[in-house]
């Protein structure tokens, strides 16, 4: 039996090295700003932010597994809960709630109650179409891919675009079977 995953990332977050969030938030803002200048097309900026996130995610998963004490999740539902309560907490210091499951349990929404990426941020009209927080999709997608889950992650609601909250839709496309010569329960 897999042990129950820790229900919150509180303790993990308390134990990792932390820095003041301003440096992080302003650095991210400066990167988005520079990308908008250099890449010109908003669509391209969305794409690159997602790509950068993916590259970060495939590395962050190691740190997550090493420090969080989370063991194998029994299903995608548990995976989503772990991302929302442990993963986001451990890195960003915030949690999300998991809602809107579809019938077969393969896609759900993460609702971010709080989002350090957007402190001090206001989007000018010239940035229509920008998914400012797109890096987060990439991070989740990249991290899950490293634990054998192909996903699609998209923003559904975004407060910077006038919505009432931040809603990230995570859809499990395919669970890639692990190619170990043994089974988990043997």
């Amino acid at each position: 039996m897999a042990p129950v995953a820790p229900r919150s990332g509180e303790a993990v977050f308390a134990s990792v090295e932390r820095v003041n969030a301003e440096l992080f938030t302003l650095t991210y803002g400066a990167i988005v700003r520079q990308l908008l200048t250099d890449l010109e097309e908003v669509e391209e900026v969305n794409k690159q932010l997602d790509q950068m996130g993916y590259n970060i995610g495939i590395r962050l998963i190691d740190e997550f597994l090493a420090k969080s004490n989370v063991s194998r999740c029994v299903d995608f539902k548990e995976t989503a809960e772990v991302i929302a309560k442990v993963g986001l907490k451990m890195f960003l210091g915030v949690t999300a709630s998991v809602t809107n499951w579809d019938a077969d349990g393969s896609s759900c929404s993460l609702i971010l109650e709080d989002n350090p990426l957007v402190d001090f941020v206001e989007l000018p009209d010239t940035c229509q179409g920008l998914y400012y927080c797109n890096i987060l999709n990439g991070v989740i997608r990249g991290a899950l891919e490293m634990v054998s889950m192909k996903t699609e992650v998209n923003w559904v609601r975004d407060m910077l675009r006038g919505d009432d909250t931040y809603e990230l839709r995570v859809k499990l496309l395919k669970q890639v079977p692990e190619e170990y010569p043994y089974k988990d329960d043997e």
């Binding site: 932390r18 440096l23 400066a30 962050l60």
Partner: protein, 177 residues
């Protein structure tokens, strides 16, 4: 204490930004990549120093402003102060951090330690070895932060980095007359 995030978020995002600019967007134009990375740092420095000096009186001279960078500003960013400050009293300041946090997280090629490729920063972009170049790419960001912070305090300057005695890192500030 204000809001905090895991240090790996900052490390991850800075590393990825540097590699996006130097390996993907401007892979064949290192000077352009360097300028963009420095510009991102500049923006961050500008805003951070604005925030950190909100509640304090104006600095009376350059030295006082530089001391602020060495102490409060550096502590906010790296949880330690600059270890050594030198000046020639003609507008050049050398800030040495004996254990620069952002360099302890990246692996550095041994060839970097040869003296001829040790000087990095805007004035010596012609750094020959690939390894030196990739480390210097990482240093444009903090150089930009310092330049942005000082510019915000009314001190236009040029900032370069010197890693000739690793793991120490020196930032050389030349104030424009």
């Amino acid at each position: 204490m204000g809001r905090e995030v895991a240090e790996s978020c900052v490390d991850g995002i800075v590393m990825e930004m540097v590699s996006a600019y130097s390996d993907r967007f401007y892979a064949t134009k290192p000077e352009l990549a360097a300028r963009r990375i420095e510009a991102i740092g500049y923006q961050v420095g500008l805003q951070l120093s604005e925030r950190y000096t909100m509640e304090r009186p104006r600095f009376t001279d350059n030295l006082e402003a530089i001391k602020f960078i060495c102490k409060e500003f550096w502590s906010e960013l790296f949880k330690k102060q600059i270890d050594n400050l030198k000046t020639n009293h003609k507008g050049t300041f050398v800030l040495q951090d004996n254990q620069f946090r952002w360099l302890t997280r990246i692996s550095i090629d041994q060839s970097l330690e040869s003296p001829d490729s040790a000087q990095v920063g805007p004035p010596s972009l012609a750094a020959d070895s690939q390894a030196a170049q990739s480390t210097s790419m990482h240093l444009y960001f903090p150089c930009g932060i310092i330049r942005g912070a000082l510019t915000n305090l009314g001190i236009p300057c040029a900032v370069s980095a010197d890693v000739s005695n690793l793991p120490a890192c020196s930032f050389v500030i030349r104030i424009k007359a």
